[in-house]
């Protein structure tokens, strides 16, 4: 670094090559600084453009909308549906993801573990529209045939399974299962990473005291990886909140707020509602959809910020 700097008070002896290299340095650092600032500007632009385009919604005459709801009335069921679907997906995916991560990090034979990890990563790379058509064509009929009637008959006293059970399978639960499959690789990848980082000495100390393998995992691996798993789960939640196509294809939406997950009347999600309505919308309708997009932006922003904060507090078990 210092070698490119001129010696103090030595201005007269600057060689031409040194001059060009100084110039090159200034240009190069300028370009990279510019690129960094462009990122900040781009993000500000995202927020600004969305806000400008969303603004007309609030001043508009309510009769211009179909259904003439106020914006809050319009977005409430969508917001509920978004959070409900993402929550259900996380509920299904988290235990499985932790199980798979443990299997790959501690149980599977070393050589197979690599290809298993590859398989799970592949799951993450499959486009969401493919998950969507698989969900509606394969999963929905199976669930509608063999699972939903059973749930309605045997657990119908719970509000979640009150029914009437959908015969098409285009329900909140089908959507949640597909979302769970989609966020599983994210949670698995992060959990596997922290589980593998467990200090070898912790594990061996536990085993040396006579612990079985599971006891070792409970005593050494899980406490060490807990905050990593939580932040992975939050990132998965963020992805589930914003997931669009799979939900848009599978869900049969209605303008309701309900916790019933097996009927044909489901609250839609913000993202899926935009995808379904946007291509046919015009005028203030477009502005209203963009306003809902802004709401989604803030919700995912908060969830992701929480995930970062948890991840940054460090892997708590490391000190204990």
């Amino acid at each position: 670094m210092t070698i490119t700097e001129k010696p103090p008070g030595d201005d007269t002896f600057v060689s031409p090559t040194e001059q060009t290299s100084k110039f090159g340095d200034r240009v190069f650092s300028g370009i990279s600084l510019g690129a960094g600032i462009l990122i900040l500007v781009a993000l500000a632009a995202v927020a600004l453009f969305l806000f400008v385009e969303a603004w007309p919604t609030f001043g508009a005459d309510e009769s211009e909308f179909d259904g003439s709801d106020t914006f809050v009335e319009y977005v409430a069921p969508l917001l509920f549906g978004t959070i409900w679907a993402a929550f259900l997906a996380l509920l299904l995916a988290l235990p499985l993801a932790v199980g798979v991560a443990l299997f790959i990090s501690h149980y599977a034979p070393k050589r197979l573990a690599v290809s298993f990890g590859y398989m799970v990563d592949l799951l993450a790379a499959i486009p969401s529209v493919v998950f969507g058509i698989w969900g509606i064509a394969v999963l929905a009929p199976i669930l509608a045939r063999s699972v939903y009637p059973w749930l309605e008959d045997n657990l119908g006293f719970l509000p979640f399974f009150a029914g009437p059970a959908s015969t098409s399978g285009r329900t909140m639960m089908t959507a949640a299962v597909v979302l769970a499959v989609m966020i599983l690789p994210i949670i698995t990848a992060i959990s596997r990473e922290v589980f593998l980082q467990t200090p070898r000495l912790h594990e061996e100390a536990s085993l040396a005291l006579g612990a079985t393998k599971w006891e070792m995992i409970r005593q050494a691996v899980i406490p060490y990886g807990r905050s990593g798993v939580i932040s992975g789960a939050m990132l998965g939640l963020g992805r589930a909140l914003g997931e669009t196509m799979a939900v848009a294809i599978i869900l049969s939406p209605a303008d309701v707020i309900t916790v019933n997950v097996i009927s044909n009347q489901n609250p839609n999600t913000i993202a899926s509602n935009i995808a379904l309505k946007f291509p046919e919308s015009s005028g203030v309708e477009v502005n209203r959809l963009i306003a809902t997009g802004l709401v989604l932006f803030f919700v995912t922003f908060i969830v992701n910020a929480l995930a970062r904060r948890i991840a940054n507090t460090g892997f708590s078990g490391a000190d204990g």
């Binding site: 290299s21 990279s32 690129a35 960094g36 385009e53 443990l102 529209v129 058509i133 393998k213 910020a305």
Partner: protein, 358 residues
């Protein structure tokens, strides 16, 4: 590790060490019994139901191995065996949808996987026939433009973060904003691009370029993150050696740091492309759908492969089978593209390990 391994079971089984342990034969017996119970669960209905067979077998195995082990080996060993069974079952359960998805897409996609499918467009196609030529062109143009925009910005930002602004407030701000960008839902990126083009070019504008802008928003943070990580892996000794020879900093970066990290950076870019090439939602609201080839990204709607798949499935036309077949084949093409990119990235990262690093 050795502690969990079973000592070889003696033939007579009378050794005091192995007296209270389940032998291999017993374990296999429990597993076979569980598979039989699973098979019985669908036998009554007549036709094989693979998912139910596997799930019932797994549950039966978990329960019975716990009971057997608890009785013979005691509660601690019982829980240990139960958890092994549960964790392995979790993996099998997760593998089920992946296998089912790939099986379905290949089975239903193959019938239309022919030359016509890759050389025809959807212009004036009703019912059978038609292809994805226009969608492939659209995907190449949109993804290519997004790559052209995001790679330079992403790479230079990574250089700033790793080489220049290390530890400064601005660098920290940029880093956290990159994190925020990573979490932007894809549909919001699409809305942003739509809003931008509507403000610039009037309402209802749809173009390939708008789609590319949306994908750039999604792709740039991925490129920044992976490139920054790779630059940080370059050993400091290399930089110092270069400075010691009197090479200015920018030349050090161009001639020493970047060539060392280039394989990792390319891998990151390929993975970023694989991530955005399957994006549907942002292109649905920005690039839209067209029936023919559109070579001009600055004007008019442009079909991309994921959007094509979506519309062919939800609006298949009459009769619906032809459209849905096209949707499945397009899905198959998408999966093949993603897999090829993914595998290429893997091979690149393992073959072209960073030079100078061991």
């Amino acid at each position: 590790m050795t502690i969990t391994e079973q000592p070889p079971t003696p033939v007579d089984g009378s050794s005091s060490i192995t007296a209270n342990q389940l032998g291999r034969a017993q374990l296999i017996g429990v597993a076979v019994a569980a598979v039989v119970v699973g098979a019985l669960s669908w036998a009554s209905s007549g036709e094989p139901n693979w998912a139910r067979w596997i799930i019932v077998s797994l549950v039966t195995y978990c329960v019975s191995i716990y009971i057997a082990s608890r009785v013979v080996e005691g509660p601690r060993k019982g829980v240990d065996r139960l958890m092994l069974a549960v964790v392995t079952s979790a993996f099998v359960v997760v593998a089920l949808p992946l296998v089912s998805l790939i099986w379905t897409v290949v089975e239903r996609g193959l019938p239309r996987f022919d030359t016509e499918f890759f050389t025809e467009t959807m212009r004036s196609v009703v019912g059978e026939g038609g292809g994805i030529y226009h969608a492939i062109i659209g995907t190449l143009i949109v993804t290519g433009l997004a790559t052209l925009m995001s790679v330079p910005v992403g790479l230079f930002t990574a250089i700033y973060l790793a080489e220049y602004g290390h530890g400064t407030k601005l660098a920290k701000a940029i880093q956290s904003m990159v994190d925020v960008m990573t979490g932007i839902p894809s549909i919001v990126a699409g809305l942003f691009a739509y809003a931008m083009f509507e403000l610039l070019f009037g309402p209802g504008t749809r173009s390939g370029l708008a789609g590319a802008v949306a994908l750039t928003v999604l792709m740039t943070p991925v490129v920044v993150r992976s490139a920054e990580e790779m630059l940080r892996l370059v050993p400091n000794e290399l930089r110092e050696a270069s400075y010691a020879l009197g090479v200015p900093k920018w030349k050090t970066i161009v001639k020493v740091v970047l060539p060392t990290a280039i394989a990792g950076i390319i891998t990151g870019v390929v993975l970023a492309i694989a991530r955005v090439i399957g994006e549907t939602a942002p292109l649905l609201v920005t690039a839209g759908l067209a029936q023919g080839v559109n070579w001009n990204p600055f004007d008019g709607r442009m079909t991309t492969l994921p959007v094509f798949t979506y519309y062919q499935y939800v609006q298949p036309g009459i009769p619906p089978e032809a459209g849905q077949d096209r949707a499945w084949t397009a899905a198959l093409v998408l999966i093949i593209i993603v897999m090829v990119l993914f595998t290429a990235a893997r091979i690149l990262s393992s073959v072209l390990k960073p030079k100078g690093l061991r």
